[in-house]
């Protein structure tokens, strides 16, 4: 199995390199004039040309990508203009491998940018995943075991209703009414554990994570309900009952275990995607995570940051897929030994 995991990791790395190349190509295939967007208000043709050269956008795409790839492997010094590096060594920024580049827009290496912004996305994703898994699975089971009852219909209907609202709307509703108008909660600001302790970190994550969790809640309720129902219809559940097990053991030990497999897959992929940044939630709550960085850097056509984020988000997804596959083996012995 570990050989399998290693093989997956290698494939994942190749995939990510290809992903970065595609990002480079797409970036320059766009009709936008990237240098013009970066050069500010007084943008004469001459200034655009200077900016383009300073950003390295004047070089062929493959050459730019090769420089990037070299940085990932061996590290890189910035600015890319060698004349300036020699003339003004005080302005050189060394970016150690795996170097994702230097963003002139943010004035720092993409690595340190991601180091600053990723913890927020990770925090959001972790709290949100706990919230939606806890409530989603709980409500899903409740709906499944009371199938057809008012409770079941209520749960499914209500979560569907919540799902119908766009994230943007829910987030703004929380801020505009729950926080500002009714004053029920303090305005949330991201607070690292180092500053506010676990409690401060958590209380400030409450609203944005809930917003995020609500988006996923409906599908997890419905999936859990469906998987548990499917599992409860299995022959081995009848066997478990026939053994004389009480209904709790039948549901949780036998019923839920099988429903877990598809849930783990879903959770892994959703979580992996979210680690790359929850764009809307982070934008609404102004949580400076990777999602916000994605929006900002794309709007500014800041190639190094865009590529860096694509790679990080991509590796989260690749990583979670590998973890899910390994988790599968732990959950399902047929996968493990077969």
């Amino acid at each position: 199995m570990w050989a399998y995991a290693a093989r997956r990791v290698v494939i994942g790395i190749l995939l990510l390199l290809a992903l970065s190349l595609v990002t480079f190509i797409l970036f320059f295939a766009s009709p936008a004039d990237q240098a013009k967007l970066a050069c500010g208000k007084q943008c004469t043709q001459a200034q655009i040309a200077v900016t383009e050269k300073a950003l390295g956008y004047d070089k062929p795409v493959y050459e730019q990508w090769a420089g990037f790839a070299k940085g990932v492997v061996a590290g890189r010094d910035f600015p890319i203009d060698q004349a300036q590096r020699e003339a003004a060594p005080e302005t050189v920024t060394h970016c150690a491998a795996p170097c994702l580049g230097f963003s002139k827009y943010y004035g720092e290496t993409v690595n340190s940018l991601i180091k600053d912004y990723a913890p927020i996305s990770i925090s959001l994703a972790v709290v949100a995943v706990v919230l939606w898994l806890f409530f989603g699975v709980l409500l899903g089971i409740a709906a499944a075991v009371t199938k057809g009852s008012i409770l079941d219909r209520g749960i499914v209907g209500l979560t569907l209703l919540v799902y119908a609202f766009p994230t943007f709307f829910i987030g703004v509703f929380f801020l505009k009414y729950v926080v500002v108008k009714w004053g029920l909660l303090d305005y949330p600001y991201y607070t690292p554990i180092a500053e506010g302790g676990v409690w401060g970190w958590l209380t400030n994550l409450w609203l944005p994570s809930l917003t995020l969790a609500l988006v996923f809640l409906a599908s997890y309720v419905r999936m859990t309900r469906a998987f548990v129902l499917e599992s409860l219809g299995e022959d081995y559940i009848r066997t478990a009952k026939a053994k004389g097990l009480n209904s709790r053991a039948v549901l949780f030990k036998h019923g839920l275990r099988a429903a877990l497999t598809p849930l783990v897959t879903m959770t892994g992929i959703d979580f992996g995607t979210l680690l790359g940044g929850a764009i809307i939630t982070e934008s609404v709550f102004a949580y400076p995570g990777l999602g916000l960085l994605t929006v900002q850097s794309s709007q500014a056509w800041d190639l190094p940051t865009v590529v860096g984020i694509v790679l990080i988000a991509g590796s989260f997804v690749v990583l979670m897929n590998i973890i899910v596959d390994i988790a599968y083996a732990f959950i399902d012995p047929r996968v493990r030994l077969g």
């Binding site: 300073a54 300036q84 005080e90 709307f169 500002v180 108008k181 900002q296």
Partner: protein, 582 residues
């Protein structure tokens, strides 16, 4: 709700992002429709913590790269002192004249405005305790030339400083550096700028922009210095680094000596601390004002750069109204006539005569969001006066009969087909339809062409089939030199592929000659006179038709004192006057 909200915010942001501006002004006493009563103007006392709620991120905290008007104005009062600065007066006549800041006076010019000298005061220091030297100013000015590193800031110095092929301090050879050091030279504490042509309004330019601010060379890490701040003002940043998406906390700078300053005119610096909170969310502006309307305990000492949106204006009543300001902004909207398609002067005149500016303003939100404009030169800019071509003939409702008479007299076959382009938004759709309707009654047949994000690229094209275009502008500093030449001097604007900012592709040798005269004027008064002449000429040619001056609607928390706007603050709340009541 979502859509409307986004649109409001987008429109609000367009004012800041799309147009940009530097210090310039509007006469809030004459034109401002200030909220009645209240203690907005009352001076406050020192102490307390002010909160600044900012709904967009800055692009840099490096003085040479800053180009946002509100950032330039508010940081001039808090973090970065200049050689000279605009005073905190509500009277444009006073406000548009720089006063000495780091320098001992407002500068001495010679050689017909081609040479400017400033002498630094004694005792002015950086926050690290070191003296601000002439070399710091010299180095700061030199950074503008490194336009492959310092991207995004104003580049005026490149056109004026009398030096050739200087690549900025990072890559200059000793010879190149020598040449620059002669063009911008130091003699003890006196710095002298040698220009290749007269620059009459240079003090205004460097009071508003920070391109000639001092910069300490040992602090410069090139690209890595984009967000570091070495303050010389009354405040400094905790941690010396501005967080683009979070902001920072400003605390007292113990190296700042008010004795070297002119606090009454330039910066009262009343609060002990300023929590400067940046929230780049699309909805932040609306939420900030929601919070200010609510006036909860945490927001009572807060101001925001976000304007009230029309929906929120209806909530401004009772005690909230005491905390409200309505002022004319430095932004002017205008219509550009395409001189390549509208070659008949009678047609252009008829369009101007029948423009329903009042209807347009009503559709965009009424008298709280805009007032009719009679010239493209905003009332806050020196020398702004009604353009006779537009001010005399009608009451801004548009006069279809007069227009038809003009067309008939000129023998133009009616209806004249007109294509009107603008940047699409629900509000603009509505407002443009009003203009369309009145024009249709005036012998025209108007088609509307709502454009997307690439609007300004589209209307810059020389061969477009658009006849009339909406546009907006704000001055970089309160001189019409930053309004008329960038928009109507064909020479820097035209190339084979674009008409630049001269969207109507207007080209007049006579006007271009006058631009040269204005640029070469030895003093500001002469310059203003020439610019007024140019504006009159542009009116005669109907190069543009003024539409409206946008207005700002501001709200403050109940404990904020000294809440007003000045031309120097771009009609944003003047942070230099603001205090916090106990």
């Amino acid at each position: 709700m979502g859509n409307r909200l986004k649109r409001m915010v987008a429109l609000g942001a367009a004012g800041v992002l799309g147009l940009s501006l530097a210090a310039c002004g509007g006469d809030s006493n004459d034109n401002g429709n200030k909220g009645p009563g209240g203690n907005n103007g009352e001076p406050g006392e020192a102490g307390g913590t002010l909160t600044v709620l900012q709904h967009f991120p800055f692009e840099s905290s490096d003085p040479n790269r800053i180009y946002y008007g509100v950032q330039l104005a508010s940081w001039r009062r808090t973090l970065y002192r200049g050689l000279v600065a605009f005073p905190m007066s509500e009277d444009p006549a006073v406000a548009n004249t720089p006063v000495a800041d780091l320098a001992t006076d407002t500068g001495t010019s010679s050689e017909g405005g081609k040479v400017w000298s400033f002498t630094l005061k004694d005792g002015v220091k950086w926050e690290d305790g070191s003296d601000i030297t002439c070399e710091d100013v010299q180095y700061g000015a030199s950074r503008s030339f490194a336009n492959d590193v310092i991207i995004g800031g104003p580049t005026y110095l490149l056109n004026y400083v009398d030096v050739k092929d200087y690549p900025g301090p990072y890559k200059a050879t000793p010879e190149q550096q020598q040449a620059f050091d002669e063009a911008v030279s130091c003699d003890g504490k006196t710095i002298t700028f040698h220009f290749n042509k007269p620059w009459a309004d240079f003090p205004q330019a460097i009071a508003g922009l920070m391109m000639a601010d001092p910069y300490k060379e040992s602090q410069d890490k090139g690209d890595g210095s984009k967000w570091t701040i070495l303050s010389n003002g009354p405040y400094k940043i905790e941690g010396n680094k501005w967080d683009k998406n979070k902001g920072a906390t400003l605390v007292r700078n113990d190296q700042y000596d008010p004795a070297t300053d002119d606090p009454e005119q330039l910066r009262l610096a009343l609060p002990d601390q300023i929590n400067w909170e940046v929230n780049p969310s699309d909805t932040a502006g609306e939420l900030f004002n929601d919070r200010l309307i609510q006036d909860g305990p945490k927001d009572q000492a807060a101001i925001t750069w976000a304007r009230l949106n029309p929906a929120q204006l209806s909530q401004i009543s009772g005690p909230v109204e005491d905390r409200y300001l309505n002022v004319v902004s430095p932004y002017t909207d205008y219509l550009v006539l395409n001189h390549k398609t509208l070659t008949d002067p009678a047609v252009r005149k008829a369009l101007a005569v029948s423009l329903n500016a009042n209807g347009y303003i009503k559709a965009t939100g009424g008298s709280t969001v805009a007032e009719p404009a009679e010239t493209i030169i905003n009332p806050g800019v020196s020398g702004s006066q009604d353009n006779p071509a537009f001010a005399e003939d009608n009451d801004n409702n548009g006069d279809p009969e007069a227009a038809k008479a003009i067309l008939e007299e000129a023998g133009v076959k009616m209806p004249v087909k007109i294509k009107l382009a603008y940047q699409k938004s629900p509000t603009q759709d509505k407002a443009m339809a009003i203009i369309q309707q009145t024009w249709n009654e005036s012998g025209f047949e108007v088609t509307l062409d709502g454009q997307g994000d690439t609007y300004y690229d589209v209307i810059a094209q020389p061969d477009k089939d658009i006849d009339v275009m909406w546009a907006g502008w704000g001055a970089d500093w309160p001189s019409a030199m930053t309004v008329l030449p960038p928009l109507f001097d064909s020479r820097p604007n035209f190339s084979s592929t674009t008409c630049g900012n001269d969207y109507g592709c207007y080209e007049s040798d006579e006007v271009n000659k006058l631009f040269d005269d204005a640029a070469n004027a030895a003093d500001v008064d002469t310059q203003v006179g020439i610019l007024q002449e140019i504006d009159a000429k542009l009116g005669e040619d109907y190069a543009y038709i003024p539409l409206d001056n946008q207005k700002f609607n501001w709200l403050r928390g109940s404990k904020v004192t000294g809440f007003t706007t000045t031309p120097a603050s771009s009609q944003y709340p003047e942070i230099g006057l603001i205090g916090v009541a106990k």
